[in-house]
């Protein structure tokens, strides 16, 4: 059932078994699953069914002084049913087992759940995201799509599958409206959580709309599903009992804000682009759309002490619909550059001997890197307030030395493999080739906000436990990529949906899941 807060008496008390705050991919997945399990669920959505500037402005952040960081945060979140899936590009790939493991060279790494506990939910998440079969090999049956024989201890090829993309609000709206168990409240901004005097139990969620109409939701369980920025914001501003905010005993809420540093890093001069394009450009496989990427192997990560890294290839000078929204700033080469390029091309042709007349091409390497958890990269409350009187947030996105070294070394390893196979040569982009380089201005984070309420076995290391329950608060859970302990280098939506399915099962079973943990 869909209900607009405008249509309720101010001061209404809504009672439900479970209250899910946030109507994006995580919140809608949870609400659907809980409703299907026969659990009365109230889903609170800040916006309505379409984009409204007034509502959207409630999520504006206070400037941090770092325009690049602000640019990577502000335009990403959307406040209407479906949340950020309303402008999702649809890129989907599961995390790799290595992404969840403790790695001695990555600070704070290691999820408190194993990969199998997550992987179990990927097939269903694939279905909800309309991705086609899980685990499919798109190159099977077509030798021209087969990836080059990269050394597996250096690089591997893995695949993204594309969602249409599924706009969760529009796609699941009818089902939610028809549900007898799920009540979706629109224009219902959660403005805080009220806890009991010990701070160990949430009693109610306070909601308000821009007209000043208010209501309260009382429920047995609460789930925050507002995205990594607003999950942290809601915990921090719910400070009626604990001055530092809920779940913030160890000052961890908002810390370790991560994205996927995404940037052009190199140009490949390849002898036969049409042949490589068969492998690396987006194509339609058997019933689904896909794209291959080159990934740093787990052996290479371990040997060199690097983060996860992937690259996609994009021919220079051709539009790429997947990046219409991303304005790349690729400078024209100078005359000297052109001469050098020609010399290297001639040299590599002579030794590679694989030239196909007219098939050579220049290809941009777009890197997508894991970001190491960094407590100084964080979301905090600002002095500035929104139209509802709530503190806005300030986001400080901080990258560190391991992030720098990973993207640098990974590109050099790619160069070695491209050269070894005689496919062409790689030239680092000038910013990356420079000594003591700094990140370029067109760096962005992929709109992949993660880690502000990270998952850890101990309250000293994270905000939620392996069941996504806030440490020390019996009935407060968190869904979404804010719980990622580390972020891997693949797009997070599929994993967000998988974790939401896992949490829904846990809640539907009254605090038990098939992995054996108990409430």
């Amino acid at each position: 059932m869909l209900i607009d807060l405008h249509d309720l008496e101010s001061g209404t008390l809504i009672e439900s078994d479970c209250c899910v705050i946030g109507g994006g991919a995580a919140g809608i997945t949870l609400a659907r699953s809980l409703g299907r399990a026969g659990i009365d669920t109230c889903l609170l959505e800040s916006g309505g069914l379409v984009f409204e500037p007034q509502v959207q402005s409630l999520g504006d952040i206070a400037p941090s002084g770092d325009a690049r960081a602000d640019r990577s945060v502000s335009p990403c979140r959307l406040r209407f049913l479906g949340g950020a899936t309303n402008h999702w590009g649809g890129w989907s790939a599961p995390m790799a087992p290595m992404d969840l493991l403790p790695r001695s060279w990555v600070p704070l790494s290691g999820w408190p759940i194993d990969w199998e506990a997550l992987e179990r939910w990927y097939p269903e998440a694939h279905r909800l995201c309309q991705l086609g079969p899980y685990g499919a090999d798109p190159s099977a049956g077509d030798p021209t799509r087969r990836p080059p024989a990269l050394l597996p201890n250096k690089l591997t090829v893995r695949y993204w599958q594309y969602s249409p993309p599924t706009r969760f609000g529009a796609y699941y709206r009818e089902e939610l409206a028809a549900s007898r168990r799920v009540y979706v409240y629109l224009h219902a901004n959660c403005v805080g959580l009220d806890a009991d005097s010990s701070g160990s139990q949430v009693l109610a969620a306070r909601i308000r709309n821009p007209d000043g109409r208010e209501a309260r939701v009382s429920a047995r369980r609460f789930v925050l599903a507002c995205g990594a920025v607003d999950n942290a914001r809601l915990l921090l501003l719910s400070n009626g009992v604990q001055p530092a905010g809920l779940g913030n005993t160890y000052d961890l809420v908002g810390r370790c804000f991560m994205q996927h540093p995404e940037v052009d890093t190199a140009t490949l001069w390849v002898h036969d682009w049409p042949a490589l394009a068969r492998v690396f450009e987006r194509y339609r496989a058997d019933g689904f759309s896909t794209r291959a990427g080159v990934f740093l192997s787990r052996q290479a990560q371990r040997r060199h002490g690097l983060l996860a890294w992937a690259a996609t290839l994009h021919p220079v000078g051709q539009p790429d619909p997947d990046y219409d929204a991303v304005k790349l700033d690729v400078p024209e080469p100078s005359a000297d550059d052109r001469r050098l390029n020609q010399a290297v091309a001639a040299l590599s042709l002579a030794t590679d001997g694989a030239y196909s007349a007219g098939q050579a091409g220049e290809v941009k390497v777009r890197s997508r890197c894991e970001q190491a958890p960094n407590p100084d990269s964080r979301v905090t409350l600002a002095e500035e307030r929104d139209a509802l009187g709530l503190p806005r947030v300030q986001v400080r996105w901080r990258l560190g030395e391991l992030d720098r070294r990973s993207i640098d070394t990974a590109n050099r390893i790619l160069a070695e493999e491209i050269g070894r196979l005689g496919l062409g040569r790689l030239r680092l982009d000038p910013w990356l080739a420079a000594q003591d380089w700094d990140w370029p201005d067109n760096l962005w984070g992929g709109c992949h906000h993660m880690g502000t309420t990270r998952m850890a076995a101990s309250a000293r290391d994270g905000v939620v436990d392996g069941d996504c329950r806030v440490h020390g608060i019996a009935n407060l859970f968190i869904a979404g990529s804010s719980v990622f302990s580390t972020g891997g280098c693949t797009n997070p939506t599929l994993t967000i949906v998988a974790l939401a399915l896992r949490l829904a099962e846990y809640l539907a079973r009254g605090g038990h899941n098939r992995e054996g943990s108990e409430q």
Partner: protein, 66 residues
């Protein structure tokens, strides 16, 4: 063949008198081994196998038009 590249070939265990096909095949093998072992040279951002960079340099020295 100019003396410097020829000397480089000999240093690499290759015989400058070999037919061009055989020399090229041997060079490709050296190049692949260099890349596989991470023996690369960075030249204004380009990452080249050490052997091919050395040959380019020697050819450039012998013939400035290279």
């Amino acid at each position: 063949m100019p003396p410097l590249p020829a000397a480089l070939l000999q240093d690499s265990g290759l015989d400058p008198s070999w037919p061009a096909d055989r020399l090229l095949a041997a060079l490709r093998e050296r190049r692949a081994m260099d890349f596989a072992a991470g023996r690369t040279v960075e030249l204004d951002g380009w990452l080249l196998a050490r052997c091919e960079a050395a040959f380019c340099q020697s050819l450039a020295l012998e013939s400035p038009r290279c």
